[in-house]
Amino acid sequence: MHAKKIINNPQDVVDELLDGLVLAYHGRVRRLEDVNALVKTDLPTGKVGLLIGGGSGHEPLFHGFIGENMGDGAACGNIFAAPSPDVILAATRALNQGAGVLYLYGNYAGDNMNFDIAAELAAEEGIATRTVRIWDDVASAPPERIDQRRGIAGDLFVIKVAGAAAATLTDLEQVYRVTAKARDSVRSMGVAVRAGSIPETGEPTFELGDDEIEIGMGLHGEAGVSREKLLPADPLVEKMMQHILADLPFQSGDEVCLLINDLGSTTMMELLIVNRKVRQILDAAGISVHDTVIGSFCTCQEMAGFSISLMRLDDELRPYYDMPARSFGYTRA
């Protein structure tokens, strides 16, 4: 079935969504000339720059997470496609205030190559960069190949900590270290109930039967761990939590932040029912919850389904997590 979309010319979706986003930032973010990159208007001299980015179509990820104690800018690709090196380089130049720039993005082949090329071009111009790739999706590869895992909604927690660290620490290496630690402390898993569609064509990104779900399926329809008949919320959450808890592993006495993310069109009602079961499981496991975030943060158009992310806190990460943050897509008072 062709998706119904509120758009104009399908070729213009990225251009027009970025225009709309800049307006929603009310002067705190501007768009660079000639490239699809957004940067904060207020960048203090000497600040380590935090550049996030990736394909568009997953809003509010990534470009909706620019702001106070969040990303300093975002390099935006076409729908579901990595930004090209010239876009990333232009954003890098704009963010470099003398202390270098940290690249933070999801671990996908296209993003990795384009950000790496941009990093080499930036080095030729004397701009220091470091890179943290987010690979929180436990369904996408076994633990021994963690660097082949995909980045999904856990992006939000890593960006949150990185934004606070980049606003606090003055040394790129230290911001890199704290961000990598946050990345290493996050685990996620999703379930797909229905496909989203590609805005340019209206075609679904994958096929899934009316009564089927895929546990562990990725944001673009990447294969998960199992395809099965639709389950009630509680046993479904139990299956997902088994994978997540065993992976880090999370243990009794741990303190975590919890994110329940809608993939595009799953209702708040369903997410809250999921949260109820997640908390029962965490309580039984002796894991305490420092903060809960529930909503749409990392989406794939009208895809239905959700993901669960946990980030383990320690005395170093907790203050960064607790710093106030303000962006279009995520705010913490």
Binding site: I79, D86, M113, I198, E222
Partner: protein, 215 residues
């Protein structure tokens, strides 16, 4: 009469033929990508080679061989987007690195272009032969080119394009393990990799120009 090499002007004409051919192949490539990817490969490559065409038409006719290929790579890198832009941009930019002493494009230069380009692509994308990527078309093409360094350029390109075609056909039997097509796993069986098709087509359009009857 077979020509042993192409002048810089002819090399530019050859690359412009590639631009026209790749833009005309848009629907074929997108269709191939719909089978195993997200269906945007043809759109990206057509947009890329349109940008290449603009750059090549603006470049001075006295441009050196390495500058021509580097121009192709840089234009692809900045206009295609996604993984394809990085891979094909790297192929041409990496391939141009050791062509600065070439006053003409001959079979030896072709071998260097493909060998250095292949090495750069492998380093960038970490794809190995058998992963169902453009490397599976590019590697046999580079190997064939190294055996033909003394051949007339038209003959060498025709043989190299054929090697790429055979490599591309073999990707039907492979299961994708890198890039977006790994989404499908076993479901990618039976379909050739769109990047491998593009590699074969680029070499085919180069061969068509270099083998033409010259009046």
């Amino acid at each position: 009469m077979a020509t042993s090499e192409l002048t810089p002007d002819e090399t530019r004409e050859m690359l412009l033929q590639v631009c026209r051919g790749m833009q005309a192949s848009k629907d074929r490539l997108s269709e191939a990508d719909r089978a195993i990817g997200d269906g945007d490969h043809g759109v990206g490559m057509a947009r890329g080679f349109e940008a290449v065409q603009r750059k090549l038409e603006a470049i001075s006719s006295a441009a050196a061989i390495d500058e021509l290929f580097r121009t192709v790579g840089t234009a692809l890198l900045t206009s295609v987007g996604g993984a394809a832009g990085a891979v094909f941009g790297t192929l041409f930019r990496g391939g141009s690195q050791n062509l600065s002493d070439c006053s003409a494009f001959d079979a030896a230069a072709l071998a260097r272009l493909l060998t250095d380009g292949l090495a750069a692509v492998k380093a960038r994308g970490q794809a190995q032969p058998g992963d169902k990527t453009m490397v599976d078309a590019l590697e046999p093409a580079a190997r064939r080119a190294q055996q033909l360094t003394g051949a007339p350029i038209g003959e060498a390109l025709t043989e190299v394009a054929e090697a790429a075609r055979q490599g591309m056909e073999k990707t039907r039997q492979m299961v994708a393990t890198v890039g977006k097509a790994k989404t499908l796993g076993e479901r990618s069986l039976g379909h050739p990799d769109p990047g491998a098709i593009s590699t074969y087509l680029i070499l085919t359009y180069m061969a068509e120009y270099a083998s033409r009857d010259r009046s």
